[in-house]
């Protein structure tokens, strides 16, 4: 009898434990929707009142290391940026979607995070309607759009990590367009009269990164040896789709800053092995190859390529274990410099300039993914970024590319050809080289809904604090920056600013805003919206400098650094 009592008590205890376990998260989720509700109501009532009070923010001096000296609203429709150094790429940078303009009141109301990440409020062709986490994001046509209005009434973003599933959905007709068909599916799509394939040129780079704070990668000769140990031709020939090319340097050939005639180390496994033996790395070196199992334009076959690199390393006697990480965790770990061994990562162009590639990865403001930076590269990049004339800039980038080859922070492997596929009846379908498709410009055969199926779910929709193209593309439907890239060519064109001009030495930039632009919540665009949108990113001590995880990776990458950073 006693044992029965005990087991009864025990089972009750277990049940209670389980209940407590379930109740704790349930209570959290139950409370969550209520908390932001009062905040959500606030931005709706964003009516401008009283006379215009121009906002401004300036750095005391330029010693903090960033590019910005000051940002000020000259009048209601004019914004002036003063820079510490000349920046010829400034228009291309401000056109980027990480620097989209938010309504100042909405920024305040959301506290710089929270709702801002869940419910973007922009000026774009599409209004955000709903985000069903794990399933889809729904957008609706903005009837008050200042420019050419969207053709499909509704735009739906969906995602699937499996290229086979994306193709099946396109073939079945449940979606109108898919991103990144599998390399082996290119031929299938081209042979199908119901589908069309739009290819992107390889304005990207796939590289094998090494962090120089972990031995033996702290030894430059060792890194150079590994650069000789990888047969890049073999990887591109076997595992990349048509339209791809072997990388000779970090810069893709079609983007300014590419050095003609520069070639990477020749594949020479014997020499590599000899150097590694001289440096005491071999025999018996064990390391890891870390990657995320997601398909990107620069790496269409991550698992297969990782295994091929593993096999190539095995050929010179290096044992490499393959480690697969979750995409977000992988990026964060790489940026914090926590990955020992090799990591497989890549980069796609956001705007066509060397600064987007070299400064972001090897500049003084770059992340710790390659460990400690190289001051001689910084110097060359600083020189290149501050000259106005492309002919004057090019030699500095030639030097930077040469130095990167010497220091080998990473091994450039491929510029991956990739593309998007659409139903044949989608008019105006295109695949943007920088992954910034505007679906409002496409006509899906007269249907009023366009369904887009991409690789992954955005982590958040406040793109000041996102780096993943999957998030940026979604932001770009809703949000707009001062300038924009022309679809197709990538040239910088007017957007929220109808015109812009710079002084002779390219340190003062004045943007004149378009009249009568309204945000989706009804607020009217003015210069203060622009100033605050930039200041919350620039000033690390600003109360609205919150974001999703607060890293705001693009801002220091492109503009040198934060103000008031610790």
């Amino acid at each position: 009898m006693q044992t029965r009592k005990i087991s009864l008590i025990m089972s009750i205890l277990v049940l209670l434990g389980l209940l407590a376990g379930c109740a704790a998260p349930a209570a959290e989720t139950g409370a969550a929707p209520q908390a932001p509700a009062p905040q959500a109501a606030a931005p709706q009532a964003a009516a401008p009142a009283g006379p215009f009070e121009p906002m401004a923010m300036s750095a005391e001096n330029c010693d903090y290391g960033g590019l910005f000296k000051s940002i000020e609203a000259v009048d209601e429709m004019t914004v002036k940026f003063t820079l510490c150094q000349p920046d010829p790429a400034f228009p291309a940078k401000v056109a980027f979607s990480s620097f989209a303009i938010n309504d100042a009141d909405y920024l305040e109301a959301t506290g710089g995070g929270g709702e801002l990440i869940e419910k973007p409020n922009g000026t774009g062709r599409y209004k955000f309607v709903d985000w069903l986490r794990g399933d889809q994001i729904i957008f609706e046509r903005n009837e008050n759009y200042w420019g050419e209005k969207a053709i499909p009434q509704t735009l739906v973003f969906r995602w699937s990590a499996e290229s086979a599933q994306r193709l099946v959905e396109l073939q079945a007709g449940t979606v109108d367009g898919i991103d990144n068909p599998g390399p082996d599916d290119f031929a299938v799509i081209e042979a199908d009269p119901n589908l069309q394939l739009k290819q992107r040129s390889g304005t990207n780079i796939f590289y094998i990164g090494m962090n120089n704070t972990y031995p033996p990668f702290d030894n430059e000769r060792v890194r150079q040896a590994f650069a000789m140990a990888i047969d890049r031709n073999r990887i591109v020939d076997n595992f990349y789709p048509p339209g791809s090319s072997v990388a000779t340097q970090f810069m893709p050939p079609s983007i300014f800053g590419y050095t003609d005639g520069l070639d990477w180390y020749e594949y020479n496994p014997d020499m590599a092995k000899q150097i590694l033996e001289e440096e005491g790395v071999l025999p018996g070196f064990k390391t890891t190859i870390t990657y995320r199992d997601v398909v990107r334009g620069y790496l269409p076959n991550p698992g297969i390529v990782a295994q091929d690199i593993q096999a190539q390393l095995a050929d010179i006697g290096v044992t490499a274990e393959i480690v697969v990480m979750e995409s977000g965790a992988f990026l964060d770990a790489a940026d914090r410099g926590e990955i020992d061994g090799f990591h497989l990562l890549g980069w796609g162009a956001d705007y066509p300039d060397a600064t987007n590639f070299l400064d972001f990865h090897f500049g003084p403001g770059s992340s710790a993914q390659f460990g400690n930076g190289f001051p001689d590269i910084w110097e060359a990049l600083a020189q290149g970024a501050t000259k106005a004339d492309p002919a004057e800039r090019q030699p500095w980038y030639d030097q930077a590319n040469e130095l990167i080859k010497q220091h080998v922070p990473m091994i450039p492997v491929a510029h991956g050809g990739n593309g998007a596929a659409f139903k044949a009846d989608v008019e105006g379908a295109y695949a943007s080289d920088i992954g910034a498709e505007q679906f409002g410009l496409m006509n899906p055969g007269g249907r009023d809904t366009f369904v887009w199926l991409q690789n992954g779910e955005p982590a958040g929709l406040y793109c000041a604090d996102e780096t993943d193209g999957e998030a940026l593309r979604a932001c770009e439907q809703v949000m707009e920056s001062l300038l924009a890239y022309e679809p197709g060519t990538g040239d910088v064109v007017a957007s929220l600013a109808k015109e812009w001009e710079a002084n002779a030495d390219l340190t003062e930039w004045v943007f004149t805003l378009r009249d009568g632009v309204t945000f989706h919540n009804g607020a009217t665009l003015d210069a203060n919206d622009v100033v605050l949108s930039y200041v919350v990113q620039w000033d690390a001590s600003h109360p609205l400098h919150v974001g999703r995880d607060g890293s705001f990776t693009y801002f220091p990458g492109l503009f040198g650094g934060f103000l008031n950073a610790e």
Partner: protein, 313 residues
């Protein structure tokens, strides 16, 4: 399983008329009279043969990429010279995979891995599980309540989810997969052992031992355990099939065997997006898995029918 039972009765002979035989020889006789069990045994014999002689049977190194070694494309379909494949092309019985490795050789070596995973993890589970079950039943009282309570908690989780949780904590890899699958299978064997021991404990011969003062440990190990083995053997055989499937599922998810190890589940997982363009990469490992699991299931069913005295017609 009902179909195999239906074919059986004609083969069973009444044992009263024959000379008395031991339990095991009777069981073996009965086993060999079941066609399905024989099929299972043949499959398993073939599998064990393949696993043991994989280096001899394989045509290529299972982890070696053939880029630059042979003139062969990645994900090429099967090419068998006897079946009309042009002789100027290199022969690959099951084709090549995405890394240009010979799929046939990989599947042969995969048999080693799957068998090892199944037998080791179930062996581990049986050892620990039967020990816990036996102690629990023999001692009873508090010990019984605590051990069986724990087992019930573990049984409350779906086994694959629990295995995923364990592997996530321990980190992916083959050894951790073995451990995870072993751990989640413990409760089943503990329960079986407990119920057998509980019933055997009341048998006259155990009572007799006890009355003449044989030590408890000796009673448990020399009298009770041997008689409680039958259901464990049956469950263990069936359990190996489940363990192999679970290991393949974990590897499919990238948590089990790590590349370039030729594991059937991870082979399917890696090429899952090529199901339309290169179906042989999914089909052949899939067939290998199906055959293995089928073999263990058929044998397990046969063993149950043969060993379980009560089920006899």
């Amino acid at each position: 399983m009902s179909t195999s039972a239906a074919t059986a009765p004609t083969a069973v002979e009444p044992i009263f008329n024959t000379k008395p035989r031991g339990l095991w020889s009777t069981a073996l006789r009965r086993l060999f009279h079941r066609r399905s069990a024989i099929v299972g045994m043949i499959i398993l014999a073939a599998l064990i043969f393949v696993a043991v002689f994989a280096p001899v049977l394989a045509t290529h190194d299972p982890t070696k990429s053939l880029i630059g070694v042979e003139n062969v494309q990645k994900r090429q379909g099967p090419c068998i010279h006897l079946l009309g494949c042009p002789t100027d092309q290199p022969q690959h019985f099951f084709g090549t995979d995405g890394n240009v490795r010979d799929l046939y050789s990989r599947i042969l070596y995969g048999a080693r891995l799957s068998l090892m995973v199944g037998i080791v993890s179930v062996g581990f589970a049986i050892l620990i599980g039967s020990f816990l079950g036996a102690i629990s039943a023999y001692i009873g009282g508090w010990t019984d309540s605590i051990i069986m309570g724990l087992m019930d908690i573990m049984l409350a989780f779906p086994s694959l989810i629990l295995a995923i949780a364990i592997v996530t904590v321990l980190g992916p890899g083959l050894i951790n997969t073995l451990l995870a699958i072993g751990i989640v299978s413990i409760p089943v064997y503990a329960r079986i052992m407990r119920s057998s021991v509980l019933s055997i404990k009341q048998q006259d011969y155990v009572m007799a031992d006890r009355s003449i003062g044989v030590p408890s440990g000796r009673i448990l190990f020399s009298n009770i355990l041997p008689n409680a083995l039958t259901p464990l053997i049956v469950q263990g055989t069936l359990g190996i099939a489940v363990a192999i499937l679970d290991a393949a599922a974990l590897s499919f998810l990238g948590l089990g065997a790590q590349p370039p190890t030729p594991e059937w589940g991870s082979m399917i997982g890696q090429e899952r997006n090529q199901v339309f363009t290169a179906p042989h990469l999914i089909v052949f490992p899939g067939i290998a898995l199906i055959l293995t699991v089928l073999g263990f299931n058929l044998l397990g069913d046969g063993l149950r029918d043969a060993l379980d005295v009560r089920q006899r017609s």
